[in-house]
């Protein structure tokens, strides 16, 4: 409830301007734009399947050194000793297979990665990592 409605009314014009869903830039996709709320693929993702796209996010610490694989997360990957017993992958992630051996970017640095969008379940025979959506033949650009 508002205690001082007369002030609130005067404030209306000044406090508006809440940003809606935004893209990092016109040609970049945010990770969440690939999914619907129920974690099915969005029309945007289905429309871009097979295309080369740029996606913004963060590089989770790679599973192993000298890899050509990493996981893109929408927020810096957190491991919480007082809320989790182990690192838990969020649902909305993107598996990225790079063209060349990966140069690791710290997990707290925003990046943009560009590659060919692949949809559908795939288990990596080398790491066992199960993914539903991937970028293939990707390159990593700093944000």
């Amino acid at each position: 409830m508002q205690r001082r409605d007369f002030i609130a009314a005067a404030a209306g014009a000044l406090t508006l301007g809440v940003a809606g869903p935004a893209r990092a830039s016109d040609d970049e996709i945010r990770l969440r734009e690939l999914y619907n709320k129920d974690m099915s693929f969005s029309p945007l993702a289905e429309g871009l399947e097979g295309d080369r796209v740029a996606v913004s996010g963060f590089m989770a610490p790679p599973l192993k050194a000298n890899s050509k694989f990493f996981v893109l997360t929408k927020m810096p990957m957190a491991v919480c000793p007082f809320c989790e017993t182990e690192a838990e992958w969020p649902d909305d992630i993107l598996a990225v297979y790079t063209k060349r051996t990966l140069k690791v970017v710290p997990f707290n640095v925003p990046i943009v990665t560009e590659g060919v969008l692949e949809l559908g379940t795939f288990r990596d025979p080398e790491t066992g990592f199960l993914s539903r959506v991937r970028l293939a033949n990707a390159v990593v650009k700093h944000g």
Binding site: Q2, A13, T15, A22, K37, V79, F82, C83, P106
Partner: protein, 490 residues
Amino acid sequence: MKSTICSALALTLAASVAHAQDLPQAQNAWFTAGQERIQAELAKQPNTNVAKNVILMISDGNGVGSNYATRVFAGQQDGGFGDDFIQHHETFPNLALVKTYNVNAQTPDSAGTGTAMMAGVKTKIGVIGIDEDVVRGDCSTLEGNTVKSMNEIAHDMGKATGIVSTARITHATPASAYSKSVDRNFEASVPEGCDTQTDIATQLIDAMEAGVIDVAMGGGMRNFHADEGGRREDGVNLIERAEGLGAHFAMDQASFEAAPLDGTPILGLFENSHMMYEADRTDEPSLAEMTEAAITALQASGGDNGFFLQVEAGRVDHANHATNAARMVRDGVAFAEAVAIADALTDDEDTLIVVTADHEHALAFNGYCGRGSNILGLCMDIDNEGIGHTGEALLGDDGKPYTVIGYLNGASSILREDMNWAGVRPDLTEEDATDIDYVQQALIPKSSETHSGEDVAVYAKGPYGHLFDGTIEQNVIFHVMHHAMTTEAM
């Protein structure tokens, strides 16, 4: 409404007092509102009824600072500046500040704090339902050191009891209602050789079988089975066991809505791990919906004996850990909605409602922001000619804008390993900062932002709510609830 009558009376009195003193500010809206508050305080009467029902509502990680952020956010969503908004629990007549430390931790965790609130004794960090004489993780130290929780005490009095959480139902805070565990992480199994306790999920179903817990709803399904996605190493299906005991099992919105609220035991496990953040929620009930269902079911089950219910907004904490204030405040709003429904469904004459947090986080607030600065966005300059901000973002000495909220540590640290842990603040726009996935800038790099030892508030209404006063130790929360529930009628 009694409060409306009081307000009208207060206005009359306030006007007369101000007139008598003939103060030049007597007609100022702030002045009359202040006078009105004084009259409301003078009209307060202690409620010394026996509390037939007690509801403890914990917003995990929602200290005074986090609560402030949610207040401003809720008010701005409502079209105002936000800072003068009043959340439902902020209407409660009784308030105290709470010291949350654990006996061996200046910075507490939810296991130690949950035990303090639910059993009346402070204990060590990371342990549940046991006192400080245990060694965390050492099962051999458990025996002789267990404590009894509010749910167990209420059950002994013939009351129905329940737990509701948006975290895993085996997570520290809800576990403090039914579990005795030397480690909060023993959610689905105990270490080899540990023969003094079972895992926390098993203890929940044991408590349901014993009739101690009538309603349990939250996340954490994986800890209850060994099928795909399950974590149980013993292969036991605890969900089938609960159903065998006559419990209704719910796992999505439809099965939640189908739950009989006639006193039938209810087990709701809506996610493998934690339930979704409110901002992302789909096909699972809100905290308010679960609270309403739990109260209705417990009223039926407890009858004239009443009930005890613990409600936890578990994900305020997790969003803070992620330095994602946008989700933190949205779960904070969902918590306030749960408080409102709990209040609406009960009577102050026989129900004590206690609203608090278990601990605060390492978040802080920048200045000097003009009014109406989006609590999730940039700190805008003060307008000396008006009330609302100027629309111009204030800049640090590095020439870059900054958000109202910041975190002292976390995964969104501005320090970079590849720069020898030096750092440069990224540039920032209002659009970036108010995005749902934006993580506020943090200083010290850590994979997860930490709790802090700062005080939290406790708000209360109903029988003996007036015993909350001043600055108290966290275990006193139990003692107020216990006194209100067990005292003789006066």
